[in-house]
């Protein structure tokens, strides 16, 4: 652990800082990010600790007069951070693949050279840990997709895809929690509700939970 390059700490204006460890994106690094987030949230100058993909944003309660002591504390806490166990729930999401709600399944077929059945089986065959929540209310950044079905983001983003759309963007997959623009390839749809302000907490999923996609139907 002492041989790893020092993580980068950079400013997001006077509002927040960004902490970025070096190296490939891994689940174990993410588990340490969760541990660091939990600890930093207890510091008086920190208002919010927001995990990203193998990085952490710390929003200031009030910007500190001097940054150096905070940076020192952050590096020390990272060195000491032990991975939090992945002991969240596993949520099954039934997905209708293809058809009107999966308009880009054909693009994944042509990019990967795999058949529809194989793409669907590989997509539904993995367990996807929730690394972080971000982008829009209730949206989950997931790890764990089979590299064989990775498909580049679309050249031209789609202006709006409906909530519940299951999509592939590069080596990642995700489910949009509400309607909005997207540059990813939409391959299917689920009916789960990911965000409800009437609930506390309002998100269906949390970092450490996992998603399993279940094949409800494949429309060719």
């Amino acid at each position: 652990m002492t041989t790893e390059p020092a993580p980068l700490i950079t400013l997001l204006g006077t509002t927040a800082l960004l902490f970025e460890p070096a190296g490939e994106t891994t689940l174990s690094t993410q588990q340490r990010i969760w541990a660091l987030a939990r600890e930093a949230l207890a510091w008086p100058e920190i208002r919010e600790a927001v995990p990203g993909m193998n990085n952490l944003m710390l929003a200031f309660a009030c910007p500190p007069r001097s940054l150096a002591p905070l940076e020192t504390r952050l590096h020390a806490a990272w060195q000491a951070a032990a991975p939090l166990p992945l002991d969240g729930r596993v949520i099954d999401l039934p997905v209708v693949y293809g058809g009107e709600r999966g308009p880009h399944l054909a693009d994944v077929v042509s990019h990967t050279g795999l058949g529809v059945d194989e793409i669907v089986e590989r997509h539904a065959g993995a367990l996807y840990p929730v690394y972080a929540i971000g982008s829009h209310p209730g949206y989950c950044y997931l790890g764990g997709m089979d590299a064989r079905i990775a498909t580049p983001r679309r050249q031209v983003p789609v202006l709006s895809i409906p909530g519940g759309s299951v999509s592939i963007g590069g080596a990642q997959t995700g489910v949009s929690a509400s309607a909005g623009p997207s540059g990813w390839n939409t391959i299917g749809a689920t009916t789960a509700r990911f965000f409800d302000v009437a609930q506390h907490p309002p998100t269906l999923l949390h970092p450490g939970d996992s998603i399993r996609f279940r094949i409800e139907k494949v429309i060719r």
Binding site: L12, L18, E20, P63, S135
Partner: protein, 329 residues
């Protein structure tokens, strides 16, 4: 109660923003010009973070059902209560049935883009996740999670000065807290993580050249046009948290400044971040206008924030003097 008389979906209920919900994917929202919102609230004896109506399209008209103290701050055109014209950044008292009109800015004049209609006690919509700001993507907060429409009725809270006969104002911060460089408005910027991955020529152009706010600019973000900023090597970043003010540079080399409705995470290279104390200046900068970025140090950025706090404290003192005779709060 007030009734919205204008068809204006771009008018929304906003407060100082939704803090503490980033980890659920919920961005901050809030007033594009938080200084105008806070000043308007101070004029009325409201809590600084009380909710108001942010108006982006003019004219905009409301009718008061009952007597109510109000303030109009920020940008926009001439403001009229019935037949009386209000000076800018002014508070007054509307009688029941009176119509308040926020007019179209006169062409060729220097004006801001967004006006804030503050009501004594604040606009009384239910707080959602600790804020009354409208979250458009999530369709919650504000008034039914959407922009305002003709016929919508909004209640005012019960605090503040209530229905006291007010008629005074303040000097706008564009005059008292000016920030300019070489004849153009300017905002201060702290370099961000990928600053060093831009070519020296692009770094220099970023500070030296004026930037134009394109029509593809709104509460989500401002797309700028100016010199093409070239990265030494374009990197796709891992998704990470971002905040309003972050200046992203996508592959095309034209920067996008994230504004209040920006999503709370992103992955484009960041050349810098507009300091929080200056974000209101951009919030008021009209489409088509030009401005400059000024490089700031951490200490300069904090000093700018202190200067803003002092300006707000001076308003509070002024309001105290104006309201002494009427019994104070």
């Amino acid at each position: 109660m007030i009734e919205i008389l204008s068809e204006s979906a771009l008018a929304t209920v906003q407060d100082l923003g939704r803090l503490g919900a980033l980890s659920w994917g919920v961005g901050v929202s809030g007033a594009m010009d938080p200084l105008a919102l806070e000043a308007g609230n101070l004029l009325l004896g409201n809590a600084p973070d009380a909710a108001a109506i942010e108006v982006q399209i003019f004219p905009f008209q409301v009718r008061f059902d009952a007597a109510c103290a109000f303030a109009v701050t920020g940008g926009g055109g001439p403001v009229r209560l019935g037949e009386r014209e209000l000076p800018p950044w002014w508070c007054g008292m509307a009688a029941a049935g009176e119509v308040l009109r926020l007019g179209v800015p006169k062409r060729g004049t220097t004006h801001g883009s967004r006006a804030y209609l503050c009501l004594a006690g604040g606009v009384d919509v239910p707080p959602v996740l600790n804020s009354r700001s409208t979250q458009l993507r999530g369709a919650f907060g504000g008034h039914e999670g959407r922009g305002l429409r003709r016929g919508d009725r909004l209640a005012a809270g019960t605090l503040g000065w209530g229905a006291r006969p007010l008629w005074f104002g303040i000097v706008p911060p564009s005059l008292t807290l000016p920030c300019e460089r070489d004849g153009l408005p300017a905002v201060r910027v702290l370099p961000a993580a990928e600053y060093d991955s831009f070519t020296p020529a692009s770094q220099q152009a970023f500070w030296a050249e004026p930037w134009t706010i394109t029509p593809q600019s709104d509460r989500y973000g401002y797309r700028l046009s100016g010199p093409v900023l070239e990265a030494i090597a374009f990197r796709e970043l891992r998704s990470h948290g971002i905040v309003p003010g972050v200046i992203q540079v996508p592959r095309g080399g034209q920067p996008i400044v994230q504004m209040r409705d920006a999503q709370p995470s992103g992955g484009y290279p960041k050349i810098g971040t507009v300091i929080d104390a200056d974000l209101w200046r951009l919030g008021q900068a009209p489409i088509g206008s030009r401005f400059r970025f000024i490089e700031a140090s951490w200490d300069e950025a904090l000093a700018a924030a202190d200067e803003t706090r002092r300006w707000l404290a001076s308003i509070e003192r002024l309001v105290g003097l104006h309201t002494l005779g009427t019994g104070g709060r």
